[in-house]
């Protein structure tokens, strides 16, 4: 589909306008939300935009890139170099643009180097890139510049938020148009069958490398602005491998099949993490781990796949084979209820008990997943599945 034909599409305008409305609402949030929520929202926006940029390349092509942390880290480090605490060399916005460019170039280089690699080799190579840059930079700083970490200029929270929002919008638009353009089609044909795509006239190399680099731009820019909140940066902090895995996890959590899946997935996932780290700091790991496993077992196509399945079963009547679908709905309600309860009552003193109760519902939701899993196991024993 061509962009021009698409912009004349009615659906485009409906979506466009509702997106604008959401963005406008987001833009006014700092006016009436406390600084913590602004920061939290900023971080969620960041994770969503990193996930979406990851999906730009890895979604249609099926190449699992773990280079996100490298692109992100390059952005963070660009900030560390160009925005030192003692007198910034360049204005903030310029630094962010430069960070994006540096990431772009790194994306081009990495893309060109990895052309021959497929599947897990590509994944491991891209992950290696993260550690390689981290270690080399570290060695360089230790032995050549003798730097004891770098201090970054602190930027005001609302500024960070708006910059992040701007990058977020840019990412969404880019992702959307790539998906809808000839370019996106070419990417998808690469994902389906690379040889066939090459035969049908797609310049596979160019499309792959350029898309990889484009997806890097936004991660770099996001890293640059993220750095201004950290104060202190060294290569370990900048190139945190977590940022390689998070986008993959979040995208699969949301569901790779659609455009909005990864967005919803990333938003919920990052919020859930924050929720668990603060409300259940001592059980965070086990709840999170079980939840991940349950999600994969019961929702192999992510949240979106689950919703689609539920919608389909509502339309066509319940499927003949019993799936734990209903249990999942209730569990999700539990989790949602817990989250809503937390969000509303968080600011009231003395409401902690209630919050815990919301958490308990969440816990039960998680336990229900598990129990359903066990029941499925037992039920499947005779059926030959197990």
């Amino acid at each position: 589909m061509d962009i021009t034909t698409f912009t004349s599409n009615k659906k485009f305008w409906i979506w466009g306008i509702s997106l604008l409305a959401v963005l406008a609402a987001l833009a006014t949030l700092p006016q009436w939300l406390g600084s913590y929520y602004v920061i939290l929202l900023k971080d969620i926006l960041m994770l969503v935009l990193i996930t979406v940029s990851w999906v730009i390349f890895s979604g249609p092509t099926g190449y699992m890139s773990l280079a996100s942390a490298a692109f992100f880290g390059v952005g963070v480090y660009t900030s560390a170099l160009l925005l030192p605490m003692t007198g910034a060399v360049l204005p903030l916005l310029l630094v962010i643009v430069i960070a994006g460019l540096v990431s772009f170039i790194l994306g081009l280089l990495a893309g060109a180097l990895t052309l021959r690699l497929k599947g897990i080799y590509f994944a491991v190579f891209t992950f290696g890139l993260v550690l390689l840059i981290q270690r080399f930079l570290l060695w360089f700083e230790m032995n050549i510049t003798h730097t004891r970490g770098r201090f970054v200029l602190l930027v005001e929270d609302n500024t960070i938020f708006y910059v992040m929002l701007a990058i977020f919008v840019a990412t969404l638009l880019t992702a959307y148009f790539i998906r809808r353009s000839k370019f996106g089609l070419a990417l998808q044909s690469i994902g389906l069958n690379e040889e066939a795509a090459a035969h049908s006239g797609v310049n596979v190399t160019r499309v792959k490398v350029i898309t990889f680099a484009i997806s890097a731009v936004f991660m770099g820019a996001a890293g640059a602005i993220y750095a201004t909140k950290l104060t202190y940066i060294d290569p370990y902090i900048a190139f945190n491998p977590l940022f390689s895995f998070l986008p993959v996890l979040m995208a699969i959590f949301g569901g790779l099949g659609s455009f909005y899946g990864p967005i919803i997935g990333a938003a919920l996932f990052s919020y859930l993490q924050e929720f668990l780290k603060t409300e259940f700091p001592f059980q965070y790991m086990i709840i999170f781990g079980l939840l991940l496993m349950a999600v994969i077992v019961f929702m192999p196509r992510g949240l979106v796949g689950l919703v689609q399945r539920l919608l389909a079963s509502l339309k066509e009547g319940p499927e003949e084979k019993s799936t734990p679908g209903w249990a999942i709905i209730f569990c999700l309600f539990g989790i949602l209820g817990g989250l809503v309860g937390w969000f509303i009552f968080r600011e009231r003193r003395g409401a902690r008990v209630l919050l815990k109760a919301g958490g308990v519902v969440t816990l039960i939701g998680g336990a229900a997943y598990l129990l359903m899993f066990l029941l499925t196991l037992l039920g499947g024993l005779g059926g030959g599945y197990f």
């Binding site: 406390g34 600084s35 913590y36 920061i39 971080d43 570290l138 060695w139 230790m142 032995n143 004891r148 970490g149 201090f151 602190l154 993220y226 909140k229 950290l230 104060t231 202190y232 060294d234 902090i237 945190n240 977590l242 924050e274 780290k277 603060t278 700091p281 001592f282 965070y284 790991m285 319940p318 019993s322 734990p324 209903w326 249990a327 709905i329 209730f330 309600f333 539990g334 209820g337 309860g341 968080r346 600011e347 009231r348 003193r349 003395g350 409401a351 902690r352 008990v353 209630l354 815990k356 109760a357 308990v360 519902v361 039960i364 939701g365 229900a368 129990l371 359903m372 029941l375 039920g379």
Partner: protein, 429 residues
């Protein structure tokens, strides 16, 4: 499996969930509705602490056990008397300790939350040097006292002038461990050293300060090599250090690497006349790991149960609560002194207003487990615990007990035992 079971089960889930919410709503009406209470009935401490991740060890054996011990002691005594409210208030921290998963981004976010959403009365310091740096501006911005525990501050000293709420209690490289170690070397006749340091802020600070101090003392550094945190093999480094003929080996790394180095030295039979172990040499789990091999090992930051008049009482208290192997012979007495100082400052201020308490802390001297305790202030900015108050800088394991072996200097006489030199050979099995 029949759908019936699923539906029944789900209904149960919903009912139980609803029940919980309904039950607690009543509680909420009693406590939470209406105007915020005029009188306070508790003092809330919050914190963003590394419960999981790479720094989790510090929550477990660093400041973690101490703030819990201190709070339970305060509460057992009826709480803190706050003049403003005219009554003693207990301290609450359950539910306000968050897991930063050893990630700085998360830590800074959680600090903002504690200070702006939860509006807790006091916020505990995060752990690790990098976290202190990232957290300090936030504490200053929201005017919360930052009683810094696990983490050095060499790099941040210049910036302390702009961070008025920063109160560091830990001793570290240039305050005043390595100058003391250099003096010790002169006393013992060590004139050639080898250094292994970690590629990290900690390592580069210690290696840098050590280079300066050794140069000033006329001690030659024969080898100075850095290792990455996930180093898998140090045997070649040790052979090189041995071949250099150095009298002393200094390891400025974290417990993971230090233990690997010690283990490899024992395994290969490589010994030096003096061995200085960075963080890890001080933890009381060490005798359990290396047994009699620890005899003669030196470590940074030191105290023992006899090093101050109050130390024995603190040792007894700690041992009555925590299992053996969870103590820390570097920071614990300093953290304890720190919280005792903080406690007295709060009571003296008579309010929970951090700005007032900060001024009290900046100007007062209180008696703590460390003796008379005060902070050296950096202009109108933050402060660091006065060197005179440190319990010791360099320790040595002697007869399975940590001893302070600092040579006397202008900050006082802290030695609890004479140093063993040269270090005895590794005992053979």
């Amino acid at each position: 499996m029949s759908k019936k079971i699923l539906i029944i089960f789900s209904v149960i889930v919903l009912l139980v969930g609803g029940l919980f919410v309904a039950c607690d709503e009543e509680d909420d009406d009693v406590n939470g509705n209406g105007e915020p209470p005029v009188t306070k009935d508790e003092i809330i401490f919050g914190g963003s602490r590394p419960i999981t991740g790479g720094n989790a060890i510090w929550e477990e054996v660093g400041f973690g056990p101490l703030y819990r011990l201190w709070i339970s002691e305060v509460n057992a005594a009826g709480g803190l008397y706050i003049a403003e409210y005219g009554t003693s208030l207990p301290i609450v921290y359950e539910g306000y300790i968050y897991d930063d998963t050893s990630d700085i981004g998360t830590m800074t976010r959680q600090l903002e939350r504690l200070m702006t959403v939860d509006e807790v009365d006091f916020v505990l310091s995060p752990a690790s040097t990098a976290s202190l740096f990232a957290g300090a501006p936030i504490f200053s911005k929201y005017e919360y006292v930052m009683l810094c525990a696990e983490g050095g501050a060499t790099s941040i000293e210049d910036q302390l002038y702009a961070l008025p709420y920063f109160f560091g209690v830990l001793n570290y490289s240039n305050r005043y461990q390595l100058p003391v170690f250099a003096d010790l070397c002169l006393e013992l006749g060590i004139d050639e050293v080898a250094m292994i340091w970690i590629q990290d802020l900690h390592g580069i600070e210690y290696a840098g300060v050590a280079a300066t101090e050794f140069a000033n003392a006329g001690i030659e550094v024969l080898m100075s090599k850095s290792v990455p945190p996930d180093v898998s093999d140090v045997s070649l480094l040790l052979l090189e250090a041995q071949a250099s003929g150095a009298d002393a080996l200094c390891m400025f790394a974290y417990p993971d690497q230090n233990f690997l180095i010690i283990g490899t030295m024992i395994g290969m039979g490589i010994n030096f006349d003096a061995i200085l172990v960075g963080p890890g040499g001080n933890i009381s789990a060490l005798p359990g790991i290396f047994g009699p091999n620890i005899e003669g090992l030196m470590f940074e930051g030191a105290w023992n149960c006899n090093s101050t008049p109050g130390a024995q009482a603190f040792c007894d208290l700690f041992d009555s609560v925590y299992p053996p192997g969870t103590g820390d012979w570097w920071g614990h007495i300093l953290y304890w002194g720190g919280v005792q100082f903080f406690e007295q400052a709060i009571v003296e201020a008579g309010t929970l207003d951090n700005t007032v308490i900060r001024d009290v802390m900046a100007t007062s001297t209180f008696d703590t487990v460390l003796g008379p305790t005060w902070f050296d202030m950096f202009g109108d900015g933050g402060g660091l615990l006065a060197i005179e108050c440190h319990a010791g800088e360099i320790g040595q394991w002697q007869n399975m007990v940590p001893e302070v072996i600092d040579p006397p200097n202008q900050y006082g006489e802290k030695r609890t035992a004479d140093p063993w030199y040269p270090k005895p050979d590794w005992p053979t099995e």
